[in-house]
């Protein structure tokens, strides 16, 4: 058996290579995935920005008369709490310059009947009723997007209801061949913020 110091160095080398492999694999999967843009809504301005990341709260407002997507859990809770999420399949379809939830199912095959692009995740819907605007909140496994401090503050400012220069903010997400969602960046108005490898 090799000496202890050699074993330590071998373990360290394998660990470093494993971490590098994860980074390379995730980067390649993100680049190769299908890119979608989904609107983000600030649920609570106080929790929007913490440190140098933006909380990704995917949420689309439902127009009057627009029904909840099929298969989506419905309720009256104002937030899509983490404890409500189940490991399901979300079908995604293009609609008016962004991507919306076409339906949710327990299996991949069932979800594909709603739309060809499916991802691991779950969605929750509050239907529109008189005096209350409904919404579809989506969870695709991406909760945070890390940015430099200045950019994070700009995104947070644009999303704040009290902002001087409000702009629609969308999450740019890559849906990989493994049906996992990966954050690519955010779109603030017409400006795309998507850090590259470097």
């Amino acid at each position: 058996m090799p000496a202890a110091w050699m074993r330590i160095l071998a373990v360290a080398a394998v660990s470093i290579l494993a971490l590098v492999a994860v980074v390379v694999h995730e980067g390649m999967a993100r680049d190769a995935g299908t890119e979608i843009a989904m609107p983000m809504q600030p649920v609570d301005p106080q929790s929007l920005l913490s440190g140098h990341y933006v909380v990704v709260g995917l949420s689309e407002t439902l127009d009057a008369g627009q029904a909840c997507p099929p298969g989506v859990e419905t309720g009256i809770q104002p937030n899509f709490d983490a404890s409500m999420r189940k490991p399901r399949w979300v079908a995604l379809a293009p609609a008016a310059g962004h991507t919306r939830v076409a339906g949710v199912a327990d299996t991949e095959a069932a979800a594909r009947r709603f739309a060809p692009l499916v991802a691991h995740g779950d969605a929750y819907c509050v239907a529109t009723v008189p005096d209350t605007t409904g919404f579809v909140a989506t969870w695709l496994g991406v909760d945070h997007f890390y940015l430099d401090q200045a950019e994070a503050q700009r995104v947070a400012g644009a999303m704040s209801p009290t902002s001087d220069q409000p702009a629609p903010v969308s999450a740019i997400i890559s849906i990989g061949a493994d049906n996992r969602a990966r954050m690519k960046g955010v779109m603030v108005g017409a400006q795309r913020i998507a850090p590259g490898w470097y």
């Binding site: 160095l9 373990v11 470093i16 490898w197």
Partner: protein, 353 residues
Amino acid sequence: MASYKEQVERDLDRWIGEGLVPADNRAAMLASIPQASRLDAATALAWVGGVLAGVALIAFVAANWDLLPRLAKFAMVLGLFAASAGAAAWFSRAGRPNAANGLLAFAAFAFAAAIGLTGQIFDIAGDERTAFYASGVVAAALALAGRGSAPAIAAVWFVGTGDFAAIQLFNVSSDFDVAGLFIAAPAAAALAVYWRSVPLAHAAALGLIAAAVWLALKLHAPPEGVVGFAAALAVLAAAGRWLRERGAPTGGVFYGWLAWGAVVFYICGGIDLSHGWTIPHRIGWLILGGALVALGRRDRMGSVTAAGVLSLMIGISVVMYDLGLGLLTASAVFFFAAIAAAVAGFAMRRRAA
């Protein structure tokens, strides 16, 4: 504070004065006790300087973190891990196992930080539990590679944190999860016994108790089930006692911690018992407390005695005040417990005779 050598020197002079030890042996006896190493001023200043330099470096990097390119950040994170593991290897090769052990533990934590920071640097969304498990696996690998108890303790901690951090314990899940501690804690216990490592035995014993807590919460164990877990921990405590009696230095650690675990589980099992089982549980509680006091005294295990004393005190209070029992019922509970204690004491006395 006087060193051990200074204390012996004083005692030796007294013994020589009393004629218990020949004066000629004084020098030879004192020479056989090594002088405790002391940190000289220059070394102390070097340590302080090193620590301050490290803090300055960390502050400098933190101040410029946003300006660094992503790959530079990644290289720094990996570099910290590589440097600490490399230093551990160097000290291991130099025959300094304690320094190697400490650096291996530092490397394990550096790798855990590397996982978290890599996810942040490259925006890789991941499961918190998986990140802790991965850190635990690397810490365990470093422990086995360098035969270090400190990284093994870190491994138990990472796996335990992963079990409790991300799992939704209080939600009924259709998928039955398995806690990593079911593997990590027994493996750590086996390593602790094999390596004769007392610190690792502490971590392993706590890991075993944590695994029982995890399972009890996950299964929403009924009171009978919680008492069952107490029995299982008591069996493991008995195994620790068996090891201790055979001279294993880690046996007492397992014995003490697991006895505490068993008592706490037994008490918790009685919180929500149906009315019919309350009185037998309380009698059992008092008997258990008395048995632990006797066992602790017999085995010279202070921690077990303490568990028994505390258990008795709480048990008596619960019987008197919380149950709402009549004084007559309370009297009967204490009477049966006293009879059991007397019979056990009599049996032990006869056996000793």
